[in-house]
């Protein structure tokens, strides 16, 4: 069998690149790295950018399809792969290559875990403000490539605002650099932005140079409970239109609140302020006054309430909805209907100041795909989207994970993908529009 011969030969080549102990071919390892039920032929665990480059070179030459992988937490994002031969587990690229506290900049391997990094940066009084739900164990490369965000986005932006420079491996194995190692640079095209949220389809991120921020000296969190979604809406609008400067605003529906262990009191907003102690106190007091004016019940909340939001978003189906900031409550209510046909109680957590809603469903029914399609149609006029981040194979089989992209912009995306990965080596088929 020529395929078998070829597989044996390729296994030798790949093992030579990463070392036999880091090339996994046993069924358990391969099944463990399956993407949408499709197991790769190999799982390679490269040690550095050079090995990633050589693996991709082999793939490029031999027509193999490669899927980069971080912690595996978001492997469900995207359409089922068109082809899949090699999963590249990047968790060995976990070095902090450089941390210059006085510059508030760090360069780290793509496989570095957020919790490990946080320990290092905290020691210098700094932080990398990327806080996607359940993200502590996730890798920097994975968080960037999947465009994941969390409540800190409100003050600090997303990966696109924090990624100053990026080293990536192109589809032909060429190691490439974009951006700079300083906090301000406009030298040439802003290539790092292309790597954020691209799911590794334009290049495999191997190292990231990131802007860090000072860790606030003091922080406080408050839970504001509302009698109705309308009250939540007016409070959030008033908060955004005030001189109060929260660093996080999360709006939760009744289901999410309960699952996060924040009580049974219906809709609520979890708001935190990070600053010096005096400002936390005065801004917190201003927040309480604002809450009172909007008939909200305001109470202090522990810092642990934030990671608990991640629990509210666990489940077999997860959506990420983008909408106008002013429409967040409207869409949270619409999303609440997705559970009506028996798909299980929905649970929604919104980055309310940024127009992002994360939704978890207890399951999918025969009607879920149509419901998501209708939701997308309704979101389209304002430029909104509903991305399926996680779903059972049955749901994904009949539903595009990303939804339609605007045709004009998509034509450019398609040209870009063809230009930089004409053979479809990197995650073929998984991205928007099947790119």
């Amino acid at each position: 069998m020529s395929v078998a011969v070829s597989t044996v030969a390729l296994t030798e080549v790949l093992a030579e690149v990463v070392g036999a102990e880091h090339l996994l071919t046993d069924p358990a390892a391969r099944e463990g790295c399956a993407v949408d039920g499709r197991a790769p032929r190999w799982v390679a665990r490269p040690a550095d950018a050079q090995q990633v480059s050589r693996l991709v070179m082999v793939a490029h030459a031999e027509g193999l399809a490669v899927a980069p992988r971080g912690s595996g937490s978001s492997v469900g994002l995207g359409n089922p792969p068109a082809r899949l031969d090699l999963v590249m587990d990047l968790t060995r690229l976990d070095q902090i290559e450089d941390h210059a506290p006085a510059d508030m900049v760090a360069s780290v391997g793509a496989g570095a875990r957020l919790d490990v990094l946080d320990g290092t940066f905290a020691a210098a009084g700094q932080m990398l403000p990327l806080d996607p739900a359940g993200g502590e164990q996730r890798t920097v490369g994975g968080v960037l490539a999947t465009g994941s965000s969390g409540p800190r986005r409100f003050r600090y932006g997303t990966g696109r605002d924090l990624l100053l420079g990026v080293r990536f491996v192109q589809a032909d194995g060429t190691v490439t650099w974009g951006g700079a190692r300083v906090v301000k640079s406009v030298t040439g095209y802003d290539v790092p932005k292309l790597m954020v949220g691209a799911l590794g389809t334009l290049g495999v991120i191997v190292s990231a140079t990131l802007r860090l921020h000072p860790r606030p000296a003091a922080a406080g969190s408050w839970l504001l409970s509302f009698g109705s979604p309308a009250a939540a809406e007016s409070l959030v609008a008033a908060l955004l239109d005030s001189a109060i400067e929260p660093d996080r605003i999360a709006l939760v529906d009744a289901g999410a609140r309960r699952r996060a262990g924040l009580g049974d009191g219906g809709w609520a907003a979890l708001v935190s302020i990070g600053s010096v102690a005096e400002a936390v106190a005065s801004q917190g007091a201003a927040l309480a006054r604002l809450g009172a004016r909007h008939n909200a019940d305001v109470g202090a909340a522990p810092e642990s309430a934030w990671p608990a939001l991640g629990r509210a978003l666990e489940g077999p189906v997860r959506l990420r909805v983008g909408c106008e900031v002013r429409r967040v409550v409207h869409w949270m209510r619409e999303l609440g209907r997705l559970g009506a046909d028996g798909a299980g109680e929905p649970s929604a957590v919104a980055e309310a100041g940024n127009g992002v809603i994360h939704l978890a469903l207890g399951g999918a029914t025969a009607g879920t795909a149509d419901a998501v399609r209708r939701l997308r149609e309704a979101l389209a006029p304002e430029g909104g989207s509903a991305v399926v981040e996680r779903a059972p194979a049955t749901l994904k089989a009949g539903l595009d994970a990303w939804g339609p992209a605007p045709p004009g912009a998509f034509a450019l995306m398609e040209r870009l993908k063809r230009e930089v990965d004409p053979l479809g080596v990197l995650n073929p088929g998984r991205f928007v529009g099947g790119l």
Partner: protein
């Protein structure tokens, strides 16, 4: 490359006769931006008033292989909005409307010719502002700011233009009209908005911009500290940043400028100061008070001669006056100068300033500085007199050496002005051939035939058409740093 009568007629048909400039004296005003070295007159200038006209112009130029040069207010300083190989300059000044103010979504949609400051003037009564504030903001356009990814003093805390652009409507070099991004921040797909910002008109022509608006802070506090030496001021900047404080602005004005500003506009800077450090804090009142309480001793520890704190808006304006007038007084120091805006890691600021003095001494020229110290973004002005034989050459050598020193410290070629024609050949100092090849591929996707602003941003393009001028004209009436 003179345009044919038929081409001009077609061009005039698209934009209307009052929006076409074809006479040599009319075109002359468009032969340069604020970088006086680079001259290149377009063969025609159009002033479109709609995106549809822009589409038609780009399609016509593409069909006839005529270069398209986008231009805002022409205040750039990189040889960007000029036509080295001729072609059609598309001046966006007439497309200057605010299309929508949407405070509930904290954003605005504007046409590219809108003057930067006009947007904040329109939004401040509602408690909002547009954060990017290049020193040229009273004349530069938001489209130009988007094209160059402009910065400004307050970018230290709030980021540069790209952090404030949510979407762009763009006419690509292929003549397509597309919206990339928009009011909704979360969108699947490649971040093409992110690469369009800062692309200097080489990917397409921006015809509308959706920008983020920020809420006005509760309070602002402005301090001015003077120091015996530039070194002391630089060390103070590094100490403030290292203390975990991110002021909204941290500006250094060196001795040359302090003297010229005092002679020129009299900002009341202390006599004998070797450097002045302007510090602005904004945010919750208690926060900035606490930060000021930490900053003042840091200034003292580094030898501050005097520290002033503005007590009201009038005093604040006075403290800023010298900084804002800096460019206007440069003529007092020198008939000619070269300006660059390389960046160093901010902790290396004292080191690069020392090296800069050594470079100046070695080449026998003076280098004056007024710059965004907090993010390591230098703005050295290499002073020379082009009537003195050899001075320009020495100035250029010093400028070049300084750029290389910045990169050797791990810096960047340009922090906010952009690449344009001026720094295209310096790109290989920061990027390997593979990195540049990737950028070239990106460019091809938007502009397959290379009609958009050719010669800019990437190296290996034909150099400036009308050539580098040894003999320089008078200084421009104003230039912004």
């Amino acid at each position: 490359m003179p345009l044919t009568a038929a081409f001009l007629a077609e061009l005039g048909g698209i934009v209307g006769p009052d929006a076409l400039i074809a006479t040599p004296e009319g075109r002359l005003a468009y032969e340069a931006d604020m970088h006086v070295f680079y001259r290149g007159m377009p063969d025609a200038v159009v002033l479109p008033s709609t995106a549809a006209q822009v589409v038609a112009v780009v399609r016509l130029c593409r069909r006839e292989a005529v270069p398209v040069v986008p231009r805002g207010s022409g205040t750039g300083i990189i040889g960007g909005a000029m036509a080295p190989t001729g072609g059609v300059t598309v001046s966006m000044n007439r497309m200057n409307r605010i299309l929508e103010l949407d405070f509930r979504n904290r954003c605005a949609v504007v046409e590219p010719g809108l003057i930067n400051l006009w947007l904040s003037n329109a939004t401040r009564p509602h408690g909002y502002y547009f954060a990017p504030d290049p020193s040229s903001q009273m004349v530069s356009s938001i489209g130009g700011n988007t094209g160059t990814n402009a910065g400004g003093p307050h970018c230290l805390k709030y980021g540069i233009t790209t952090n404030h652009v949510l979407g762009v409507q763009v006419v690509t070099g292929a003549g397509e009209l597309v919206w990339l991004g928009g009011k909704v921040q979360e969108r699947p797909g490649y971040d093409l908005t992110g690469v369009t910002v800062g692309s200097e008109g080489t990917l397409g022509l921006v015809t509308a911009v959706a920008v983020r608006l920020l809420h006005e802070p509760e309070a602002v506090k402005t301090l001015l500290a003077s120091f015996p030496t530039l070194d002391d001021a630089s060390e103070t900047v590094s100490a403030i940043i290292a203390a975990g404080i991110v002021p909204s602005a941290l500006e250094i004005i060196d001795e040359f400028f302090v003297r010229a500003i005092e002679e020129g506009v009299g900002a009341g800077y202390p006599k004998g100061a070797g450097a002045v450090l302007l510090i602005e804090l904004d945010g919750p009142r208690e926060e900035i008070e606490a930060q000021a309480h930490r900053i003042v001793p840091l200034c003292r520890e580094h030898g501050a001669l005097e520290i002033r704190v503005a007590r009201d808006e009038a005093e604040r304006a006075l403290l800023w006056k010298g900084r804002k007038e800096a460019a206007g007084v440069v003529g007092r120091m020198s008939p000619n100068w070269l300006l660059q805006d390389a960046v160093v890691p901010r902790s290396r600021l004292p080191e690069i300033m020392r090296r800069m003095q050594a470079i100046a001494a070695r080449h026998g020229i003076r280098i004056a500085n007024v710059f965004h110290a907090g993010d390591g973004n230098l703005h050295p002005m290499v002073l020379y007199d082009d009537r003195v034989p050899g001075e320009l050459e020495r100035a250029r050598a010093a400028n070049d050496e300084l750029l290389r020193e910045c990169l050797a410290l791990g810096g960047s070629v340009t922090g906010e002005h952009g690449v344009g024609l001026d720094k295209a050949e310096a790109m290989p100092l920061q990027y390997e051939p593979a990195d540049l090849a990737f950028m070239a591929r990106l460019r091809r996707c938007f502009d397959p035939d290379g009609v958009m602003n050719p010669g800019k941003l990437l190296p290996d393009h034909p150099a400036c058409g009308e050539g580098f001028r040894q003999r320089l004209p008078e200084l421009p009436p104003g230039a912004w740093v």
